[in-house]
C-alpha cells in the first residue's frame, strides 16, 4: 500500500469537502419533508375513518420493506416521464423525504401512545379546548420519547445520503468515485469519505445523547 498525503490534501479533500456540504444539505432538506409527510401519515393512521387509517397503516408497512435505492431510481426515472424535470439533487431530497416518512410517522405515533389515556380524559374534564389540550397537556408529554427517536432517524438519513451517488448527486461518495476514475486511486478518496462519515455520525450521535440527557433533566414529566 502507498498512501499519498500530498494527493490526500491537494486533490482529495478539496474535492470531497464540497460533497460533504451537499450531503448535509440533502440530509436537512429531506428531513424537513420527512417531518411534514410523517406528521400527515401519522394523523392519517390515527384517523377515525377506518379506511384512511388502514390505508395509512399498510402504506407505512409497505414503505418499511422498500429499499431506499428503489425509491430513488423510481423517482429518477418516473418524474421525467411525467414531464417533471428536477435536478438530481432535488429528486434525491424528494426520495429521501418520502422514504423516511413512514418511520417518522411510527415514532410520532409511539410518542402519542405513550401519553396515558387518563391525560386526555383529565384535559376533557378540565374543559380544555382542543388547542390547549394539545399544547399544554399532550405534546409536552409526548415530546420526550419522540425527540431521540427522530434524532436517530436523522442520523440514519445522513448515513443513507451516499445512495444518491447512484443518480449522480454530487455528494461525498460521488466525488470520491469521480476522483478515483480520473486518477485510478481508490484508497485515499474512499478512506477519507469513510472517516468523514464516522466522525460526523459519532459527533451527531453524541449530540443526540446530550439532547436526550438535557431533556430528561429538564423534563419534569419524565420518570
Amino acid at each position: 500500500m502507498d498512501w499519498r498525503w500530498d494527493f490526500t490534501f491537494d486533490t482529495v479533500l478539496p474535492r470531497i469537502l464540497p460533497g460533504l456540504w451537499v450531503t448535509v444539505e440533502v440530509t436537512f432538506l429531506s428531513f424537513i419533508l420527512t417531518l411534514v409527510l410523517g406528521l400527515v401519515l401519522m394523523l392519517a393512521r390515527r384517523s377515525r375513518s377506518r379506511i384512511i387509517s388502514f390505508a395509512a397503516g399498510e402504506f407505512i408497512e409497505f414503505m418499511r420493506g422498500m429499499p431506499l435505492l428503489v425509491v430513488i431510481f423510481f423517482l429518477f426515472f418516473l418524474l421525467p416521464e411525467v414531464n417533471i424535470y428536477l435536478a438530481p439533487f432535488w429528486t434525491g431530497v424528494l426520495a429521501m423525504g418520502i422514504y423516511n416518512a413512514a418511520p417518522a410517522a411510527e415514532i410520532m405515533r409511539g410518542g402519542l401512545q405513550a401519553v396515558p389515556k387518563g391525560q386526555w380524559e383529565a384535559a376533557h374534564a378540565l374543559n380544555y379546548s382542543t388547542y390547549r389540550t394539545w399544547r399544554n397537556v399532550i405534546l409536552p408529554q409526548a415530546i420526550g420519547p419522540v425527540v431521540p427517536g427522530l434524532g436517530n432517524l436523522l442520523i440514519l438519513a445522513f448515513k443513507e445520503t451516499p445512495l444518491l451517488s447512484f443518480v449522480a448527486v454530487p455528494e461525498m461518495p460521488d466525488a470520491a468515485r469521480r476522483i478515483a476514475s480520473e486518477t485510478y486511486r481508490f484508497t485515499e478518496p474512499l478512506t477519507v469519505v469513510g472517516i468523514l462519515f464516522l466522525i460526523l455520525s459519532l459527533a451527531s450521535a453524541l449530540l443526540i445523547r446530550l439532547v436526550e440527557r438535557h431533556m430528561l433533566t429538564e423534563n419534569r414529566y419524565a420518570k
Partner: protein, 239 residues
C-alpha cells in the same frame, strides 16, 4: 406487532404478480428480474446468518468482563454503525486490494452487509441481555450456577425472546441493504430492474414489480418474526 391483513395480502400479491407475468408485457422483463432476485437471495441468506452470529459475539463482547474484548467490540460497533453501508462496500471491494486483500464481489457484498447489520444487531443483543431482570442473575448466583450455564441456560434464552422484534427489523433493514450490492458490480434485483428500465422504459410496471417483491420478502421476515415470538410466548405461558 400482529398484522393479520398482511398475511392475507402476501398470497394476493403473488397472484397479482402471476397475472402480470402471464398476461402482460411484464413477461418481457420478468425473467431478468427473477435472475436479480436469486442474486439478492444468495447474498441475503448467508448475510443474515453471519450477521446474527456477529451480533451475538459482539453484543456479548460489549459486556465482557475483560477490558480489551469490551473495547474491541465497542470500536467495531461504533465504526460499522457510523459508516454508511455503501462506503463500507466500496472500501472492502476497492480499497482493501491496495492492502493486498482482494476478494470477490460476492464476498465483499456478504461481508459488508453482515458487518454493517451485525453492528446494529450487537446493540440489540446487548440491550436484550441487559433487559433480563436483575433477579434472574441473582437467582443464578444464589443457586451457584457456573458462568457458562448461567448464560446458556438462563440469560440468553430470555434475552433471545426480548430481542426477536428488534432483530426482525434488523433483518428487514439488511434485506433492504442488499439493494446496494450493485456498487460492487453484482446485478441484484434492484440493479436488474434499473437495467431493464433503461432498455424498455416501462418504469411504472418494473418498479411496481420490484416493490412488490421486496414487500413480499419483508413480509416473510416479519411473519417469521411474529411466529417465533408467538412460539416463545406460548412457552413462557404469557398467552
Amino acid at each position: 406487532m400482529q398484522r393479520s391483513p398482511i398475511v392475507v395480502l402476501v398470497p394476493i400479491a403473488f397472484l397479482v404478480g402471476l397475472y402480470f407475468a402471464v398476461f402482460s408485457s411484464v413477461a418481457e422483463f420478468l425473467p431478468a428480474l427473477l435472475n436479480g432476485l436469486t442474486v439478492t437471495i444468495k447474498v441475503a441468506v448467508p448475510s443474515v446468518l453471519l450477521a446474527y452470529l456477529i451480533s451475538v459475539v459482539a453484543g456479548l463482547g460489549r459486556l465482557a468482563p475483560i477490558g480489551p474484548v469490551r473495547w474491541a467490540s465497542a470500536i467495531y460497533i461504533e465504526v460499522f454503525r457510523g459508516v454508511s453501508l455503501l462506503v463500507i462496500l466500496f472500501w472492502l471491494y476497492f480499497v482493501l486490494p491496495e492492502f493486498g486483500l482482494t476478494m470477490s464481489a460476492y464476498t465483499a457484498a456478504l461481508l459488508g452487509i453482515s458487518l454493517n447489520a451485525g453492528a446494529y444487531g450487537a446493540e440489540i443483543v446487548r440491550g436484550a441481555v441487559q433487559a433480563v431482570p436483575k433477579g434472574q442473575y441473582e437467582a443464578c448466583t444464589t443457586l451457584n450456577y457456573p458462568v457458562w450455564h448461567k448464560y446458556t441456560r438462563i440469560i440468553l434464552p430470555q434475552a433471545l425472546v426480548i430481542a426477536v422484534p428488534a432483530m426482525t427489523n434488523m433483518t428487514i433493514e439488511l434485506l433492504k441493504g442488499t439493494a446496494l450490492v450493485s456498487a460492487v458490480t453484482l446485478v441484484d434485483l434492484t440493479a436488474a430492474g434499473v437495467r431493464q428500465n433503461q432498455m424498455t422504459y416501462r418504469t411504472v410496471e418494473i418498479f411496481s414489480v420490484l416493490a412488490l417483491i421486496y414487500f413480499c420478502l419483508a413480509q416473510v421476515v416479519r411473519f417469521s418474526g411474529v411466529r417465533i415470538e408467538q412460539f416463545f410466548n406460548r412457552h413462557l405461558g404469557a398467552d
